[in-house]
């Protein structure tokens, strides 16, 4: 047989798509097992997520959160760092948002407060990633374990802040006071109303546009700057990069802090854009979903936007599903998410030899018929 190279699209498009399909196939089996036809489930989900403009609003609102946490995981991945701490970084960033909103929201106009809110969400997220990054770079402690630990430390810290510090007097729920109007990120339907465009109210807010800006930023930063080059070089081969003069400590800390910052922006969408107050466990696993998003999106902003849309659809559709079929929990989406991480991440290479063999066989057959 003549030697053929496997073209790029097989590895970068065909195999990932097959992996996702495999994940869907297995979850379809779960649906069948719990007596729900996968086809009607899909229809309900599709209708719920895209069938009307409020559904769209929710889908894009969820997608916004996933873009932030997905980008966060991706940037760290480029330096071969596994940031499992997005959950904690996003949670702690909520504190930054709350502190600024509650202290300055009544003092300064929106045009000044909102940029500060953005800066502080990023700053708090980045600072929560700083210590694990520094310890990995300087002391050799494993970033995965440290970020897992920091998720728990963050959860305890935030629990304390919410219960003992931020909770208004005479209130029972572990929540902060509601933020002043000026500090809130406007909803898109509110922004469009004066322009004569009427939309059904939904949580979709301007953070969505900011998320897209962040995608461009990540693309520019990772592929078009010296720092991004250093991050990728370090990720591809740490010792070669060090030999070429890349400062390992700087790269590790930089990649992780940007990652933490992006995870921190998650708070903008959810806390500042929708909840308008800080709540216990408000991140609710979205930080972990960022890992699935980054894996599916192949750590590229375009892929991440597409994967985020898919997950936004799954979350919104899943909520509708739980509404439509009593007895089904919206956790069914968590199952799907786990399967996607399994097939697109851990079993990424399972299909590769078979697909390549099939491709080569197909090419060989073609050649024979040509001859």
């Amino acid at each position: 047989m003549s030697q053929h190279k496997i073209p790029g699209w097989v590895n970068f498009a065909l195999i990932p798509v097959l992996n996702v399909l495999l994940a869907f196939l297995v979850s379809a089996l779960v649906f069948v097992y719990i007596d729900i036809s996968p086809w009607s489930a899909l229809k309900v989900m599709w209708q719920g997520a895209f069938g009307y403009d409020e559904g769209w609003g929710y889908t894009l609102y969820y997608a916004t959160g996933f873009i932030f946490t997905g980008l966060a995981v991706a940037v760290a991945f480029h330096a071969q760092l596994f940031n499992i701490g997005g959950e904690g970084q996003a949670y702690v960033a909520g504190l930054g948002v709350a502190l600024i909103s509650l202290s300055l929201g009544n003092v300064l106009p929106a045009i000044l407060v909102i940029p500060l809110v953005i800066v502080f969400s990023g700053l708090f997220g980045a600072s929560w990633a700083f210590i694990p990054a520094y310890l990995q770079a300087k002391r050799g402690s494993h970033i995965v374990i440290t970020t897992i630990m920091f998720n728990f430390i963050g959860a305890s810290l935030m629990g304390y802040m919410l219960v003992e510090v931020l909770k208004p007097e005479f209130s029972m729920a572990p929540e902060s006071a509601r933020f002043p109007e000026a500090s809130l990120i406007p909803k898109i339907y509110e922004v469009l109303k004066p322009l004569g465009i009427e939309l059904t109210p939904s949580p979709l807010n301007l953070s969505f546009l900011f998320a897209l800006v962040c995608c461009v930023f990540v693309w520019l930063f990772v592929w078009n700057t010296k720092w991004g080059y250093e991050i990728r070089a370090f990720g591809a081969n740490p010792s070669a990069a060090k030999y070429a003069g890349v400062n390992a400590v700087k790269v590790t800390v930089m990649a992780m802090m940007i990652s933490g910052m992006l995870a921190g922006f998650f708070a903008l969408n959810t806390v500042s854009g929708e909840m308008h107050q800080l709540k216990l466990n408000y991140v609710a696993g979205f930080g972990f979903t960022g890992i699935a998003v980054a894996l599916m999106g192949r750590n590229h902003p375009i892929g991440i936007v597409m994967a985020s849309l898919l997950f936004g659809f799954l979350y919104q559709g899943g909520a509708e599903l739980a509404f439509e079929f009593p007895g089904v929990d919206s956790k069914i989406i968590v199952v799907l998410q786990g399967l996607i991480i399994l097939f697109c991440g851990a079993l990424e290479y399972m299909l590769k030899p078979y697909v390549e063999k099939l491709y080569l066989a197909a090419v060989a057959k073609k050649e024979v018929s040509h001859a």
Binding site: V30, Y33, I34, D35, F82, I84, I131, L135, R139, G140, S141, H142, V144, I145, T146, I148, M149, F150, F152, I153, S156, L157, G159, Y160, V163, E164, F288, I291, A292, L295, G327, V328, D329, K331, I332, I333, V334, V335, L336, Q337, G338, L339, I341, L342, G345, A346, L347, E348, Y349, M350
Partner: protein, 327 residues
């Protein structure tokens, strides 16, 4: 004085044993896996799956023992999935662990709701469907002896079989890992798999066996949570991060069984005090926020990993899939 002794020494030690049981089993499970070179952040998921399998099986069959075996089988299945992804297909061990944790968090609720229709919980287990606590001989009588009596009758006696099983596992694990040929090979495969391979021993099979042990132990831990402790039913997400604390204890114990158990005791005791101290005022200090006690295990682990107190050196080949021939 006696009341203080009973409330602040005896009872916390009693809770410590109960709270550290799943930690000890999971830490040992993680030890076998990680010593063979396979990172296991999936302890959390296996623990939760074990708890669900045990409670669901016990609820249906009415036998806690059937539940225990179902939990162990579930643990093995998940461990094999982890092995299939990371050993056979050389997938990323952390990603695979994540996938298992997330998958289990979802599937237990889905199946629980479908089978029992109680919002993901299993029915309350009674009679033979749970492991009842065992009272030691003469516990009633000895409890009258001051100071030592309560230690025997309250702390050591009155737990379920599962708890004692967990602590029997510690010397067994130590023996298996440090005194047998299998243990030597298992440790070697986590340090220098190429050397083990050169000696004609299968790296793959060794790592799979390590994962089988891991699955069995996490299964027992899960069964303890739902059928061997006072809870006696499955509650969604009842593992609540215990798998991760066990991982921390394992690191804290520098991947050694007895030290890891000590780490579990420490973390268990902290949790016991965190529960007892809730809302209690300490003279001169005021109330200590529970959240700060809760975070101590994690902070200690971070400090230890960073090498500020001693040094925790993981097995050398940990996290690296083994590739047999040069490609």
């Amino acid at each position: 004085m006696l009341e203080f002794y009973f409330n602040w020494i005896v009872l916390p030690m009693d809770s410590m044993l109960r709270l550290s049981t799943p930690l000890v089993l999971c830490a040992l499970a993680g030890m076998f896996s990680e010593r063979s070179g396979v990172v296991n952040i999936a302890l959390e998921g296996k623990l939760l799956a074990g708890a669900f399998a045990a409670a669901a099986t016990a609820a249906v069959t009415g036998s806690a023992w059937a539940g225990l075996f179902a939990a162990m089988a579930t643990g093995i299945v998940l461990a094999m999935l982890h092995g299939f992804a990371t050993i056979t297909h050389r997938g990323d061990q952390i990603v695979s662990g994540m996938a298992i944790n997330i998958l289990v968090a979802g599937i237990t609720v889905i199946l629980g709701r479908f089978w029992f229709g109680q919002g993901g919980q299993t029915p309350n287990l009674q009679g033979n469907a749970r492991f009842e606590s065992i009272d030691f001989i003469g516990a009633e009588f000895i409890s009258n002896i001051p100071l030592i009596g309560p230690l025997y009758s309250e702390v050591l006696s009155g737990h379920s079989l599962m708890l004692y099983l967990a602590f029997v596992m510690v010397p067994l694990a130590w023996y298996l890992l440090f005194k047998t040929r299998f243990g030597l090979r298992l440790r070697a495969v986590g340090e220098a798999p190429a050397a083990v391979d050169t000696a004609g021993i299968s790296v793959t099979w060794l790592r799979y066996r390590a994962l089988i042990i891991c699955g069995v132990l996490t299964g027992i831990a899960g069964a303890y949570l739902s059928t061997g402790s006072s809870t006696a039913q499955f509650i969604p997400n009842m593992s609540a991060g215990k798998g991760y604390i066990a991982l921390a204890a394992l690191i804290f114990g520098k991947w050694r069984p007895v030290q890891a158990m000590m780490g579990c005791f420490l973390f268990g005791l902290l949790e016991a005090y965190a529960i007892r101290l809730q809302g209690t005022e300490i003279p001169g200090l005021g109330t200590i926020p529970v959240q700060f006690i809760e975070m101590v295990p994690y902070v200690l682990t971070v400090i230890l990993l960073a090498g500020f107190i001693g040094r925790a050196n993981p097995p050398k080949a940990i996290g690296v899939p083994y590739v047999k021939e040069r490609e």
